[in-house]
Amino acid sequence: MEAGALAPRGDSGALGLRGTSRGRLADPAFRWLLTILAALILALIVFFFVFLINKATPAISKFGVFGFTFGNDWDVSRNVFGAWPLLAGTIITSTVALVIGVPIAIATALYVSELCPVRLRAPLTMLLELLAAVPSVVYGLWGVFFLIPKLRAPSQWFADTFSFLPFVGGPVAGPNYFIAGLILAIMILPIVSAISREVISTVPAEIKEGSLALGATRWEMIRMAVLPYSRAGIVGATMLGLGRAVGETIAVTLVIGNSPKIGKQLFDQGYTLAAVIANEFGEAANNKLHSAALIAAGLVLFVLTLLINGIARYIVMRGDRLRNISPTEAEIGMPTAAPLMGTGLTK
């Protein structure tokens, strides 16, 4: 039935079997068209990189690569641009996001693939993917009008009670690093969870059944068979989540307070690389050095995400070379193989 459905409609003449000279030219032309499209992607990225470096040059030549990246002074009014307060904010919020988001994401992945009733698997997966469908700006809106007012009192209590911890204590600012990190944790959760699920699903059934047969409980099976086998993939998933957290802009811009000084503690206002670009590009239009500095900040962000994603992909691929996982597929939420399932086309 499938074969019939797939055959081209119309008579065989429609397949163009007569081999005209035009037809013979069409084939290489088609091949070249596609090759050019592929080459276009390479050209685009190279152009992208060179162009951004070129535009950032005024700031980089004035402060130096090191001076710009690690200079602890971002002051538009004095025309001094050192991106360390922004970079620090990016690092702090991403760390908070990982600390909160990753354990929960891994727990959901383990629960969905190893523990939950089969009937619940699909709906739970769908709900987790819904988290990724909410746009960044909506999370920001929710953060401003729900999270900030609701979390103020509990944060203050936490800061007072645990003031002996490093980076905790003192007055809680409305918008702060912690809120930004919390929102980022929610935003990276679906990606980390999806890739972890994908990785965990490749653990061979023999290993799991073997450990159960030896008398392990479910949890012991997870701890001694599933987790060691999928560790590399989960680390890679975490890194990809980190890449996402570092580049996230609008939600963070709305809840971080936008203060270009490094906060002393977790509940202080701050700034991130992405947020500074979103906020200041408007006023920078008439200031060459300022706009160059913003583009340089974008470049730092770009290089940072390149590094993180490169490492992540390397880890996932190395851990899973034989298991054939593409992190990108889980990341884009593509229901792998699903579109063709049941059509008789999947082997």
Partner: protein, 294 residues
């Protein structure tokens, strides 16, 4: 099978292992529920605050921009988002599928194809704001096309963002088309391009549509690149070379105003945007399911 037959010989520590097992199962369940808490909270708040804003007038009037009195609706934002997404899709979907076809049909595991694949992965990881910054610096500052901010520039930034998503999802689907079909068509004497056009693409169509819709859903919610490129404006425009409003940009602008009426509009716009994205997601999944039946 789930009953452990080991309780006699293999459990020297008595019930402790059982206990740990039970505790950890509960911990994993609780953490999974915790993960869903924000989803519930966002949806409840979105409905609670957003539904109030919705009315026929809300969808049919432009924002007025007046600080007192009627703030107007979100017509220009909805139409702007639709226009930007349409143009972005017109760029990114054909190119993305084309690149995927190259990778699957011609490039295969060759060196050039591996490099292209790697660079597509790199594009997936680039933050959306960097795309916006790039288009801003390349096209907006230099006023390419006569105007600074323009709808088509915003669409281009969104297209850059969608491109890797379309490419990778298309590649996954195209790889699933069995080689037997290609070989059968080639054996009948069909030229390569016709095999692709008449056999490979129709077979992969449902999956390609699913992937494209998911890419559109991703692109529709992006704010950062639009702020730099299409900017924010009140009126509706069909001129792609003029500033163009969009739902995410409108929400962002309204939040910054901290006025109750504008914040209400922001919630209404957010509800509209999330509904649009959800519909795209559902249609994408239904489409892939429908093909399963036919």
């Amino acid at each position: 099978m789930s009953t452990t037959p080991s309780s006699v010989a293999l459990e020297p520590t008595g019930g402790r292992r059982r206990q740990t097992d039970r505790v950890m199962r509960v911990v994993l369940l609780v953490l999974t529920l915790v993960a869903l808490v924000p989803l519930v909270l966002v949806i409840v708040k979105l409905l609670g605050s957003g539904l109030k804003a919705l009315s026929w007038k809300f969808f049919t009037t432009d924002p007025t921009g007046s600080f007192l009195g009627d703030p107007g609706g979100i017509k220009s934002a909805i139409l702007g988002t639709l226009e930007i997404i349409a143009v972005a899709s017109a760029f990114s979907i054909p190119i993305g599928i084309g690149v995927a076809l190259y990778l699957v049909e011609y490039g295969k595991a060759g060196r050039f194809a591996s490099v292209v694949r790697y660079f597509v992965d790199v594009l997936t990881g680039v933050p959306s704001i960097v795309f916006g910054l790039f288009v801003y610096a390349a096209l907006v500052v230099s006023k390419v096309g006569g105007s600074g901010f323009a709808g088509w520039k915003g669409a281009l930034a969104v297209a850059l963002l969608m491109l890797p998503v379309v490419t990778r999802s298309a590649e996954v689907v195209l790889l699933l088309v069995p080689d037997d079909l290609r070989e059968a068509a080639l054996a009948l004497g069909a030229p390569r391009w016709k095999v692709v056009w008449r056999v490979v693409l129709p077979t992969a169509k449902p999956g390609l549509i699913t992937g494209s819709l998911l890419a559109i859903a991703r692109g529709a919610g992006e704010t950062a690149p639009l702020l730099f490129t299409a900017a924010i404006v009140q009126g509706t425009t069909y001129n792609l070379n003029a500033r163009m409003n969009s739902l995410p940009a409108q929400i962002f602008a309204d939040v910054g105003q901290a006025q109750d009426r504008l914040v209400t509009r922001a919630w209404g716009a957010a509800l509209t945007l999330v509904t649009m994205i959800l519909i795209l997601n559902i249609v994408a999944r239904l489409y892939s399911r429908r093909s399963r039946l036919s």
